[in-house]
Amino acid sequence: MNNKKGQIIAFDVFFALMVFSVIVGVLVFFWYENLENKLHETEVGRMHLRASTVMDSLVSTPGQPNNWELSGDANRVGLAFDRRVLVKEKLLALVAMDYNEARQVMGLSAYDFYLFLEQDWQIVATVGTESTSARKEVVIERVVEFEGKPARLYLKVYR
C-alpha cells in the first residue's frame, strides 16, 4: 500500500464510542448512587448520634434542675434517679409536657420524636407522635428499671 495516511473505519469508531459511553454511563450512575447513599447515611448518622445522646441523658440523669418535674421548668430533661432506674413522676411530667417544649428541652428541636416505655408487653407511657410518613427515622432502645421491674424504653427520632 502506498497510501501511508491513517484511516478510521466509521463502524469501528461508532461501536467503540458506544461501548465507551455505556461504560462511562454505568460508572457515573454508580458514583452518584453511592454519593446519594453516603449523604443519606451521614444525615441518618447525625440523627442517630443525637438520639443516642438524648436517650443516654434520659436514662442516666435526673435532668436539670434535679426536681424539674415539680417546678415544671426544665432546662434539660432526665428521667432517672439512678443510672437506668426511672422515676414515675418524672415520666408523667414529661408525658404532660407540651410536645414542642419537650422537643426543646430534650435537645431534639430539629427533629420530631416518639418516646414510649414498654413493660410486660404493654405500653406504659408515650410522649410525642408516631411517624406516619417519615423520610428518615432512627430508633434507640434501652433496658431500664421502672417501678422495680425491667422495662424497655424506645426513642424514635424522625424527620
Binding site: M1, E33, H48, I140, V143, E145, P150
Partner: protein, 155 residues
Amino acid sequence: MRENQQGSTSRFTGKGFVFSLDAFMAVILLITAFAFVSYSAFQEKVDPISRLDTQRQLNDTLDILDREGKLRAFDFQEIESDLNLLLSKNIEWRLKITQYEFKRGQFEKASETVLGNASVNLSEKNLVKGKRLFLSFKEDEVEYYSTAEYWAWLK
C-alpha cells in the same frame, strides 16, 4: 512505528490485528475504575453508633439483672430467658459466667457456664464485647467472685 506490536491490517494476509498493548492498557484502566467505584459502593460498613447501642443494651440488662440479684443467684435459665426477653430481637449474644472461689489465699476457678449463641464469629465487624464483675455473699462473706463476659452482634 512499534516493531513488536501489531496493528492495523497485515500487508500479507489482509487480516486485522488488535493493538495488544493498547487493549491491555484500556482493560487495566477499566478494571481500575470499576474496582474503585465498586469498592466505595459495596465495602462492608462498620456502624459505630449501632455497636454503641448494642453495647449499652447489654450493659443495661446485666446491670438490671445484677441489681435484681439474678446474676448472683446463678439461675442460668432465668438469666437466659431475661436476656432473650429484654434485648432487641436483632441482637445475637453469648454470655460466659465464670465463678471463682477464694481458696488457700487465692482465687480459683470453680465453674464456667456459657449461655446464648455458643458460636461467636470473632471477625464479625459489628461484634461488641464486655465484662461485668460481681460478688456473691454467704453469711456476710464473699462466697464467689464472678465475671459475666459477653459478646453481642447484630443478626
